[in-house]
């Protein structure tokens, strides 16, 4: 991964996730009801994809999309091709099942190494986090394993100097934005709402339907030791899954019938200050000075 590509090359890691807006929990068994729930590309990954395509449009080169998942994850890759990605790689193997973030970053970093051998990589992009796993750990995990400069929560890429192999960007941190200069190759996790996803062109959509998707098993992805994959390669284990406990008591309802908004508001304040005498004192105190 240290060799710099002659042609600019980004790889975007995308994940196919269930559209969680449509997920329901079985009321009795407390299990996720996945049947019929449509899948989408993890929404955060689309900002990474768009950023990679924007750089490609400016500097030329190739955008590869990479995913680890079941065979049906090919759909997500085709959708990305339809949006304008150039090449797609799926790694799929039963031995990947049950991967936690450490095992996921292991498998993805192996696939990235193989991709990089054929076509050296300048930037690996990931989303900020997934909406199902929601950990934001896979990006840093990949960076560490491949020894890439890790640049998380990137809000904007200001400049790219391909000859000097440097990149200047803005990274969100607590209380402000860091302007950083780092070196290629690097790993960037892209912040949300940082760009606007393009619509795919008709040509891209047509191409996407027929384009080949490179599909690798664990072995083909260069994984010699399956002990680091899937459940066996995952240090964490889920011992219990349960629904949040609903609160026993409902809200005390303020009577509004026959009252003007002003009277209702007064009633709310009376109840509020009755429930929490400290609140009135605290509120009054802060405006005294």
């Amino acid at each position: 991964m240290t060799r710099l590509a002659r042609e600019f090359h980004s790889v975007v890691c995308i994940k196919q996730v269930p559209d969680s807006a449509q997920i329901r929990v079985h009321p009795v068994t407390n299990t996720i009801m996945r049947q019929g729930v449509p899948t989408i590309i993890n929404p955060y990954d689309l900002f990474a994809l768009e950023e990679a395509m924007r750089l490609r449009d400016e500097y030329g080169g190739t955008v590869t999309v990479l995913t680890m998942g079941p065979p049906m994850a090919e759909d997500a890759l085709r959708r990305a091709l339809g949006l304008g990605a150039n090449r797609a790689v799926l790694i799929t193997d039963r031995r990947f099942a049950g991967s936690d973030t450490l095992a996921t970053s292991f498998a993805l970093s192996k696939a990235l190494t193989r991709i990089g051998e054929e076509h050296p990589i300048d930037i690996v992009f990931t989303g900020k986090q997934t909406i199902d796993g929601d950990t934001a750990q896979v990006g840093p995990g990949i960076a560490r394993r491949l020894g890439l400069n890790q640049l998380t929560y990137v809000a904007a890429i200001d400049a790219l100097d391909r000859d000097g192999a440097t990149i200047t960007l803005r990274r969100r941190s607590e209380g402000g934005v860091q302007v950083l200069r780092s070196r290629l190759p690097c790993l960037i996790t892209m912040l949300e709402d940082t760009n606007t996803l393009r619509r795919g062109t008709i040509q891209d959509m047509l191409r996407a339907a027929r384009a080949p998707v490179t599909t690798w098993s664990a072995e083909e992805a260069g994984i010699a030791d399956p002990m680091q994959c899937g459940l066996r390669g995952s240090p964490t284990v889920v011992k219990r899954v349960f629904a949040p406990r609903p609160r026993a008591d409902k809200a005390e309802m303020v009577v509004v019938e026959g009252k003007t908004p002003a009277q209702t508001a007064d009633a709310v304040l009376d109840l509020l200050f009755a429930q929490s005498p400290n609140l009135e004192a605290a509120l009054s105190a802060r405006f005294k000075s």
């Binding site: 936690d100 860091q178 302007v179 889920v238 709310v268």
Partner: protein, 363 residues
């Protein structure tokens, strides 16, 4: 944990923990103290409060880790770690740690862990904490549970970290088998802020970074403070007023903002308003936004979806205004008003202005 709930409940989950010999000596609970530009992030003290309980349950020490340049701010942070419960403070002071960068911070923290071998390591789920935790856990090849909402010591003395999954619809409890330290991050405001005990002191242990600027690839060119960008500090606001889709039009957000101003609080929104571009992302409250823990939270025209709820449950008092008497927000609220938010919000602003001394002019 990426696909946590898909893992079979039996099998590995039922496995007895057999800790490898090399991990047997890993002891004590550590909290990484996050300092950025001289300020300790309050989530670090919240974690110390929680870490103290875990350490007491295990009968071990609570240790703080302070990384930073040798300054008065760092010195102040070190003595504060004892006030918030630390027995030992591990310190790495080096000019290279002045601004947060992944490389030197990862080196310092993994170096300390390798040397002093903690069984539990906690960090805040902030941009800095998440960046560092992900890379340190990978270096150490250990498990990391993100955004935990509850930490407990299980019967076998291992750490049980509970976190929401699938956008808060379910909770899952995660253990780290046969690897140490057991790592977890916790979002700001999820744990309560402990009372500091200013008489406490403890032991200091110094560690050297062993790096030169030339070893670090990434350079900080500039820091653009949010003071210039004007950003919300929702997480730590005492009073929060938020609006949802019940506001109907972007212009009506002004009603929420005015009430927030009258009571001296912050304003926020539910996610759809951010998605529609009515408000910036840092105003979003909930699972994928900010967790709040104010003394008073007023939710207007918000239905109370689980993803919103998990972000507000820690509020002391919740007032909900919704035209639908069956709205789920009333399950989590303490006071409910079934009425039109567009008329109640201005009425509330007026009522507060009238009843708070010195506020009448602000209205």
């Amino acid at each position: 944990m990426a696909d946590a709930p898909q893992q079979p409940a039996g099998g590995r989950a039922a496995m007895q923990m057999q800790l490898a010999a090399k991990f047997k000596d890993y002891r004590h609970v550590w909290v990484f103290v996050e300092i950025e530009r001289g300020c300790v992030h309050p989530v670090s003290w919240e974690l110390m409060g929680e870490g103290r309980k875990l350490a007491d349950d295990l009968g071990v020490d609570l240790c703080a880790v302070v990384l930073g340049p040798r300054t008065d701010d760092t010195k102040a942070a070190i003595s504060q770690t004892y006030h918030y419960g630390a027995d030992i403070c591990y310190i790495c002071e080096d000019p290279l740690l002045a601004d947060y960068r992944n490389e030197p911070y990862t080196r310092a923290l993994t170096g300390l862990v390798d040397k002093y071998q903690p069984e539990i390591l906690l960090l805040g789920a902030t941009p800095l904490g998440r960046d560092l935790a992900g890379s340190v856990a990978t270096m150490l090849q250990t498990g990391l549970t993100a955004d935990s909402t509850e930490l407990r010591i299980a019967d076998d003395k291992s750490l049980a970290a509970t976190r929401p999954t699938f956008g808060g619809t379910l909770l899952c409890t995660i253990h780290t088998l046969n690897h140490r330290p057991q790592m977890a991050t916790v979002r700001p405001r999820v744990m309560a802020m402990p009372e500091p005990d200013r008489s406490r002191t403890g032991r200091m242990v110094w560690h050297s970074l062993g790096m030169a600027e030339g070893d670090i690839v990434t350079k900080v060119l500039e820091f653009v403070s949010d003071a210039r960008i004007e950003k919300a500090n929702l997480a730590y606001a005492d009073i929060v007023v938020a609006g949802g889709m019940g506001l109907r039009q972007p212009g009506n957000l002004a009603l929420v903002q005015r009430l927030a101003e009258v009571v001296g609080g912050e304003w926020g929104v539910s996610r759809p308003l951010v998605q529609k571009g009515w408000a910036p992302a840092e105003r979003q409250i909930g699972q994928t936004g900010t967790t709040i823990r104010p003394r008073l939270y007023i939710a207007a025209g918000i239905s109370g979806a689980i993803q919103h709820r998990v972000g507000v449950e820690g509020s002391d008092l919740i007032v909900a205004i919704n035209t639908d008497p069956d709205a789920r927000i009333f399950d989590v609220a303490h006071l409910g008003v079934v009425a039109d938010a567009l008329t109640i919000l201005p009425a509330l602003a007026d009522a507060f202005a009238r009843r708070l001394p010195g506020r009448a002019l602000a209205s």
